[in-house]
Each structure stands twice: as C-alpha cells, then as structure tokens.
C-alpha cells in the first residue's frame, strides 16, 4: 500500500515535470511561429541596394593638362610627357596610395602590344614611388585567366620588380556600383577591393583597333574594372564606354602609342597588325587623350561615337587642341 502511494507521488512528480517540459516546447513553438511568420511571398528580382561608388581621383584646382611626346623609347617619352604637364610630383604626393589600371586583357606576350607595355607600367610605378607614394597597386580584370594574363604580358614581374603590388581579382573582389546618371552601369559588379584606401588612379592603355567600338584606348581601358556578364554591354558599346568614362575620374591617363595596333584588334596576334607610331600621351583629360589617339589610328572623332558622347556628358573635351597640349620630342 505504501509502495503504491510512493509510486503515485513519483508518477505525479514525473508528470508535472513532463508537463513543464511540454509546456516549454509549446511556448517555444509559439514564439518561433510568431517570430518567423511571414504571410507575404517574396517579390521579383530587386536591384541591389548596397552600392559602392568610385570617388573623384583628379587633382583639385589643377586644370586640364595634356602632353604629346614623340620618340621610340617609352621610358624617355613617358618621363618627358609627365614632366611637360608638371612632373609626377604635381599629381602624386608623399603618402599617396596609387592604383595603376593597366590593360592586361589578354594572355599574350608584350611584343604583340595587345596589353599595356610592362616596362612602361613599371616606370610609372617607379616614378610614383619616387614622388613619395606609400603604395602602388597594379590591377585589371582581364578577359583571359588573370594569373596567365599578368604573367605572360610581363606586367606582374615588371611591377613587382619596382615594388608595386599586383592585384589579381577573385570572385570576392567585386561590389555592385551604379554610375550617377548612367543607364547601363546600374547595380553592376565593380572591381572594388583594390580601390579600398586608394586616393590616386592612373590609367595606362595602349592604342588599339577595336572592331566593335572602333578603337580601344584610355576610356575603353576602364572596361577591365567591370565584373559580371559585362560583355552584354557590347550591344551598346558607345554608351557603355561613355559611362565607363563617367565612372572613373582618374588622376591622369597615359596613352601609349609607341606601337599602335592598326588591324585585327583588340587581340592582334601578329607583328603585321602593328605600326610604329612613336608617341606617348599624358593627359588629365581622358576624352582629349582618346581624341588625339584616334588620329594615330587614322580615325576621326566622328568615327568613334563614344568620344562625342563622353564629351557631351561633361567627362572632358574632344577638342584636344583646346588644351594646348605640349608637344615635345625625345629625338
């Protein structure tokens, strides 16, 4: 009898404990349901709202400057061209962190001139360091495999030899950007990681024939800052290049026309595609630089609609002569 009584009280205690646990379970379920309930279905694909934007990298109060130097040696011509517009010190101050946007689009050797000349890139990096730059990073999002591109073009080795860092993009290097007043580059992945902490940007581009847009020079060079399925912009290439020019306001651009790719661009692939044009252009105005570069390809501004479009959006002037470019020759 006593044993049964004890069992009963044991049972009662067990039941109460169980009830408490079940109650806690019920309470947790109700809480979870209340917390996570969402009666509205998900909506259509949205434009991403967290966007990055590139700041203005130009030197304030300096006004547009441009120089055109003829000569066959890139090291000499680039030095002279920079000196003519006030010297690299006018643009790079001690402690500056500089990004060099080269054209490393293809995994081809430098002799084919489909990419930025490695010695030229190294020299500009070297000059930046000489002017007191704290760091120089060289980057591009090439069309071919990045590692192969930077190695085969010689840019990686040349840049590292003068102490510059080479930034090879990975999937994580991109953030969506929307260019102000743009219609195409909206919520589009931008090669943003190498820009973090950067306060000066120099674009270094070769002069090349480009079958779709007419010519690939300093403005088209910014295409390499885009990620994603960027080649759908080829459907409206001139507006796309205009918006690229709106996206980047560089400290200066260097247009290397020592060797111009006249045909079979932008990949080239044969020395027969190249022509010695022996010219180096340094400019704070990318539109002016490209407008002059067009003449070296035997083209007019009218044949490259993106130049006028960029001019109309206030990026720069197509009338490069109005900048009174300083013309010199290294002889």
């Amino acid at each position: 009898m006593r044993r049964e009584l004890r069992d009963e009280s044991m049972n009662r205690r067990e039941f109460l404990l169980r009830t408490a646990k079940a109650g806690a379970g019920v309470a947790a379920t109700c809480f979870l349901a209340y917390w996570l309930y969402d009666g509205t279905p998900p909506g259509p694909l949205q434009e991403q709202d967290e966007l990055v934007m590139l700041p203005d990298f130009s030197m304030p109060g300096l006004g547009p400057k441009m120089s055109i130097v003829t000569g066959g040696d890139r090291i000499q011509t680039v030095n002279r061209a920079l000196k003519a517009i006030g010297g690299i010190e006018a643009f790079i101050k001690p402690g500056d962190r500089v990004l060099l946007k080269v054209n490393a689009a293809f995994a081809t050797p430098p002799i084919l001139s489909a990419t930025t000349n490695p010695q030229l890139a190294a020299e500009v990096a070297h000059l930046c360091f000489k002017a007191g730059a704290a760091s120089v990073v060289v980057t591009d999002n090439p069309i071919n495999d990045p590692e192969s591109c930077f190695n085969l073009t010689g840019i990686a080795e040349a840049a590292r030899s003068v102490g510059a860092r080479v930034f090879l993009p990975t999937e994580d290097s991109f953030e969506p950007t929307t260019v102000k007043d743009a219609t195409l580059i909206r919520g589009w992945p931008l090669l943003y990681s190498p820009f973090v902490g950067i306060n000066k940007v120099i674009g270094i581009a070769p002069v090349k024939d480009h079958h779709r847009s007419g010519a690939s020079m300093t403005m088209k060079n910014w295409y390499g800052l885009l990620g994603g399925r960027r080649n759908i912009f080829h459907q409206d290439i001139h507006n796309a290049i205009k918006e690229l020019a709106m996206m980047v306001t560089p400290t200066l651009v260097i247009l290397d026309a020592t060797t111009a790719m006249m045909t079979n661009g932008p990949t080239g692939g044969s020395l027969a595609d190249l022509k010695r044009t022996n010219t180096m252009i340094a400019s704070t105005d990318q539109v002016a630089a490209d407008a002059f570069g067009a003449t070296l390809l035997g083209k007019t501004v009218a044949q490259l609609p993106y130049i006028s479009k960029a001019e109309a959006s206030g990026v720069g002037t197509a009338d490069y002569a109005s900048l009174n470019p300083i013309r010199e020759s290294t002889g």
């Binding site: 646990k21 079940a22 379970g25 279905p41 259509p44 694909l45 759908i232």
Partner: protein, 653 residues
C-alpha cells in the same frame, strides 16, 4: 465504438481528403474543380516542411503556420499524425494489414518487433535538416559580426547555455564537458572571424525527396492520376505526361509493397517526418503504456503494433504511432493511453549513436556545397532547365521547392515536368518546362502554378505582373526564356517550304516572332519554254508534277529576277503552268527562253525584346522530334546571370 474504430475512421477521412485534394487540383468550371479547396492543407500541416523551409529561408511562410498547430498537438499528444492523419501512413497501414491478416499471432509478433534499423530515419532527418541548415549555420556563426554588443553577447550566452546542457546530457563528466565547450566556442569564434562561411556554405531544401506528404502528393499527382485518368479522361482531355515519372512511380510502389515484408516499412525505417514527430512527442502528456508491469506476457499487444515500439516491454515512445492496437488487443485491459509512463518502463530517446549523429550532420552540411561543384545551379546551367513563371532566383527557389508536384498537377497545358538530373542531383524533381509535350506552351493568361505553390518557390503573382501591365508596365512581362530559330531545321529556312506556324501562334502583341520575305528559285525550277501566251506557258518535256506549284506560294519570273516581273502561278500540269489572270504577260516569254519558278517564303525571326519564352512556338513547331524553334532560359526575368539584352533605350530609367 472502440478507439481503434475511431482511428480507422480518421485515417479513412484524411486519406479520402488527400485523394479529394489531388482530384480537385484541376482547372475547370465544375464545382469539384479548383474552387478554393485547400488542396495544400496536408502539406501545410507537415512540421518537417515548415521546419525545413524555416532553416533555408528563416521565414515561416503563410499557410505553413498550420504546421505549428501540428507541432503543438504532437508535443502534447505524441506522434498521432502518423497513425491517424498521414495519408501515406494510412496506405502503408492498410497494405501491411492486408499482408499479415491471415498470419498467426506469433508471426505477426515477430514482424512487429523493434528493429535496430529503425534509427535510420533519424539519421536521414539529421542529414536532410543539416543540408537545409548550411546557410543558417553560417549566419549563426557570424551573428556577432555587424551587430551591437548586446545582441552578440546575448546570442553567445544563449548558445553557450544550450551547448552546456547538450554536452552534459551526452557525457556526465562536467570537467570534460566544459573542456569540449571551450573548444567548440573557440572553433566557432575562429570560424566566424576568419572564414567567410556564408560564402562557403550553401543550403537547399532536400526534405521533399523523402517527406511522406510531399512524396505521396508527387506520386499521386504524377503517376497514379495520369495512369488512372488515361482510361477515363475525367481530369484531363489528353494523356498527361511527366518526364521520368517511372522513377517516382517505382519508389512509390517499392514503398507500398515493402509493407508486405515489414508492415509500415517506410514509416519505421525511412520517414524523416516520423522521426521528427517522434522526437517532438518525447514529453507528450499522454502516452501508450501498461498500467501494471505484471501481465501474462502473451505479447498479443505486439502482434498488431504499427510502430514496432514494443508495448509489451519497455515501450519506445518515439516509435509509437498511437495506432492503439495494443490497447484493444490486450485481453486483460492492461494497456492504455495515459498520463503516467508505462509500468514496464519506457524508452524516450531514439536509438542513435553520437558517431552516427555527427556523420549525418557533417555529410548533410557538406552535401549541398559538394553537389554545387557540378555547377548546374551556376555557370554550367543546362539549357533545358526552364523554370515556371514566378520561380524565384535559383538559390531561393531551391531553398523552398518541396518537389510536391502541385504545380505540375495544376498546369493546364501539362508543360511543367519534374526535372531529372539535368538540373543537377540537387534539383531532382523540381519543376521545369517541357514545351514538346502537353497541349500548348505556357498560357499567357494563366498564373495557376504560382498560385498553388505551397511554399512560394514559385511566387504567386497577379496577371498584371505576368503580362507586364498597369503597375508593371515598366518592368515588362515575366520572361521564362527566349526562343531561338534553328535555321538548319526550320522548313522555310532550310527546306524552301512555307510554314511560319511559330509566328502565327506567337501570343504577344506585337508578335515577338516576325518574318522577312524571300523569293527563292526552287530546286529544278529553271525551265525551258516551248511556247507561251499571255497567261500560259508550256515547257519542253514533262518536268512538273501536276498541281505542284498551284498552292499560291509559287511565282514565276522571266529573265532577270526582280519583284516587278514575278507572277503568281495559279495552276500547273505536267508541262504547263498558268499565271494569275489579273496580270498577264505583255509579251509572253519566247520559245527557248527560261522561266524560273520561285517560292515565296516568310523567314521567321525572334525579337528578343518581346519574346517571353512561353514556348507556344516550340510546342506548335511542325518539326516534331527536335523542334526548329526552341526556348532556352536565356534572358529569363529571375536571373541576372542569364540576362541577354541591355534594357531598351526607351525603358531605361
């Protein structure tokens, strides 16, 4: 009326309800067709579906709130869903009953003994939940990032307490427990700080593969109904087809017939929902059990035990499906549904090992990232994987799709099909569009699939949104893909045959398929004139088939090929042809000159700005086996990766 009879009525009721829901999931004007019947209700009361989607989406979507009612009831009453509600369970129950009804009691007792393999379902549950939890775990690990200190500390505190409790339960050595805890917290903090786990981890909802409700909906929708309806055509005017339905059918039949070997085989060994409910019912207030330990040990209570939970001895609470057979078979009346535990004791935890738990957990978490290495959800997209209208972007879609087949059942044109493995193993049986079968393409004015989808993997949308009207005029219609003409197969393009069935059937206005006119000289169509008058020309020999060029699509020209000189042929015999009398020759072609016979072709082109990828052109294309115009998911609205066009100049913001 005994409790077992009540249970049988309940089972029959819910099974009937389920079949009714499947039958009425058809579009039409009859009262018994879709009229707001809650056809998804059995999916919505399924706690595993609710839990799975909560893990993948961190949201309890709409009707899935019903599942919380089932969870509460299960916590209070035990695993009654399996024995009283589940239509799949009832089917197993019935087949198992048929299989053993003439067998002697001792055979039945052996059949219904607990089997160690019954723990498999818990591992499956852990595996499936872990596969769904990957992204949530990653988020949890990084919860301390980007939140205020208070949130971070409180989250860490709650997790630490939970971890201590969990570890102490596993091992009774507190010092060792604290040690393990420190290691776990250390690893956790390290992972959260240094590894972008949210990018390494991927999750998708795989529970639909084995969830009994999704499985039985899928099987009945895609196999049973099409086979039955093929003879009576009450549900569909034509034979319904579903790609790869054989596999779904084979699994269904295997699950059903395994009951003849072991009753409720699926429920006992495989069912992840049963496993979940078993765990939830652990503290149930009422449970089956013996009122007295001492009995005659006749074991008759085990003879018809549906859950194989051994009511005769220490009853396994989480295996018990509350069929109540033990209560009615006990001659002494010693078994009851009661508040106190069985007098012979009970086992309340599933029989799983720590090692097995960890294996299932790790393989579940890693399953999706490994499956994604094939790239079918990314750059290696299969051109035939076209999702129905309203499908979320692929990752969100896979986080919600139950593979229940409701969209495939409801689609009035039978174009929604279960994907085989072409979308990757991860997307097995998810809905894809096949425009070759069925009665048409995706109907312009139909939004049925998104409306029926229980988990909004296909989000419900209005006709206005689908068609890009009113508020949606700027975004334009929902695009499923884009049609491409295969010029090597197209009759006018490749074979000089007038056709343009695709253009005729293109439902958009203006039509996305347009044509360009072309006159082509037919093969052997240069003929030597014997004599001619103003309306007739006779040729040397007998070069023509009578009537061959009298279709109205053929013209003839004399001399140089220009439009002005083309005259429509109205009639031809073996060696003559007549031109339309409205435009006779001023000077008939002289003897010895040549007449060219030309066919007027309209060559189809697709305007990608207007094409919605509805697939009606592909469905109608007379080149049957491999269509000459085919839709691929290029430019579908839900994906940036597959966008094809820049926005129209006029549509840019």
């Amino acid at each position: 009326m005994t409790i077992v009879t009540v249970r049988r009525i309940s089972q029959a009721l819910f099974l009937g309800l389920f079949l009714w829901f499947c039958i009425v999931s058809s579009l039409g004007r009859e009262w018994w067709q879709l009229r707001g019947w809650p056809v998804n209700w059995l999916l919505q009361i399924d706690p595993l579906i609710a839990l799975g989607t909560m893990l993948t989406t961190r949201v309890l979507y709409s009707g899935l709130l019903w599942a919380m009612v089932m969870v509460v009831l299960t916590i209070l009453l035990g695993r009654f869903f399996c024995g009283w509600v589940c239509p799949f369970g009832s089917l197993h129950h019935f087949i198992g009953f048929l299989g053993r009804r003439r067998r002697p009691a001792h055979d039945r007792i052996t059949l219904n003994q607990y089997h160690p393999g019954q723990c498999i379902k818990y591992y499956l549950l852990i595996f499936l939940l872990a596969a769904a939890a990957g992204s949530s775990i990653a988020q949890l690990v990084r919860v301390t990032h980007g939140h205020s200190m208070i949130v971070s500390i409180s989250v860490i505190a709650v997790l630490a307490v939970l971890a201590v409790i969990a570890i102490l339960r596993f091992i009774s050595n507190p010092r060792r427990a604290i040690g393990i805890l420190l290691v776990v917290v250390g690893i956790w903090m390290g992972l959260g700080s240094f590894l972008p786990l949210d990018r390494m981890n991927a999750a998708s909802l795989q529970i639909g593969l084995l969830d009994p409700i999704a499985l039985v909906y899928r099987s009945v929708n895609l196999v049973l109904l099409p086979v039955v309806d093929a003879g009576i055509h009450k549900l569909s005017t034509i034979q319904r087809y579903y790609e790869g339905a054989w596999l779904i059918g084979a699994i269904f039949l295997a699950a059903v017939f395994l009951n003849l070997r072991i009753p409720r085989f699926y429920c006992r060994f495989l069912c992840p929902l049963g496993a979940l409910l078993g765990v939830l019912g652990r503290f149930a207030l009422w449970r089956m059990g013996k009122t007295r330990d001492e009995c005659t040990a006749c074991k008759l209570c085990d003879a018809d035990c549906e859950g194989a939970c051994q009511p005769s001895g220490e009853i396994r609470i989480n295996e018990c499906v509350l069929c109540m057979n033990c209560r009615s078979s006990c001659k002494e009346g010693l078994v009851d549904y009661q508040t106190s535990p069985s007098a012979s004791g009970e086992i309340t935890s599933p029989d799983i090992s720590r090692r097995g738990f960890v294996i299932a957990l790790i393989s579940g978490i890693s399953a999706i990232p490994v499956l994604r290495l094939s790239g079918e959800a990314g750059p290696n997209w299969h051109p035939e994987v076209i999702r129905p209208p309203g499908a979320l972007p692929e990752e969100g879609f896979l986080a919600r799709c139950l593979r229940c087949g409701q969209c495939m059942r409801i689609c009035p044109t039978n174009i929604i099909h279960p994907a085989g493995i072409k979308g990757g193993l991860e997307a097995l049986w998810t809905p894809t569009l096949n425009f070759r079968v069925g009665t048409s393409g995706c109907q312009l004015n139909c939004i049925a699939c998104g409306q029926i989808c229980p988990s909004a993997a296909l989000r419900p949308m209005s006709l206005d949104e689908k068609l890009g009207r009113k508020d949606y005029a700027t975004t334009g219609p929902i695009r499923l893909g884009t049609a491409f003409v295969d010029r090597g197969r197209c009759l006018p393009w490749a074979m000089d045959r007038p056709c343009i069935v695709c253009q005729e059937n293109c439902p958009t206005s203006p039509k996305a398929i347009f044509t360009r006119k072309q006159f082509t000289t037919v093969r052997g169509g240069v003929l030597l004139v014997k004599r001619a008058d103003a309306l007739r020309v006779e040729f040397e020999g007998n070069p023509l088939e009578p009537g061959q060029f009298a279709t109205g699509d053929y013209y003839c020209t004399v001399g140089i090929e220009t439009d002005d000189h083309r005259r429509r042929i109205v009639e031809n015999s073996g060696n003559t042809l007549a031109i339309a009398p409205s435009w006779p020759w001023q000077s008939p072609p002289p003897r010895g000159s040549f007449v060219r016979i030309q066919v007027h072709l309209q060559l189809p082109f697709v305007d990608p700005k207007l094409c919605t990828g509805c697939g009606i052109c592909e469905h109608e294309c007379p080149v049957r086996v491999k269509r000459a115009i085919r839709v691929t998911p290029e430019n579908e609205s839900r994906s940036r990766e597959r966008s094809l066009l820049l926005p129209l100049a006029g549509q840019r913001q």
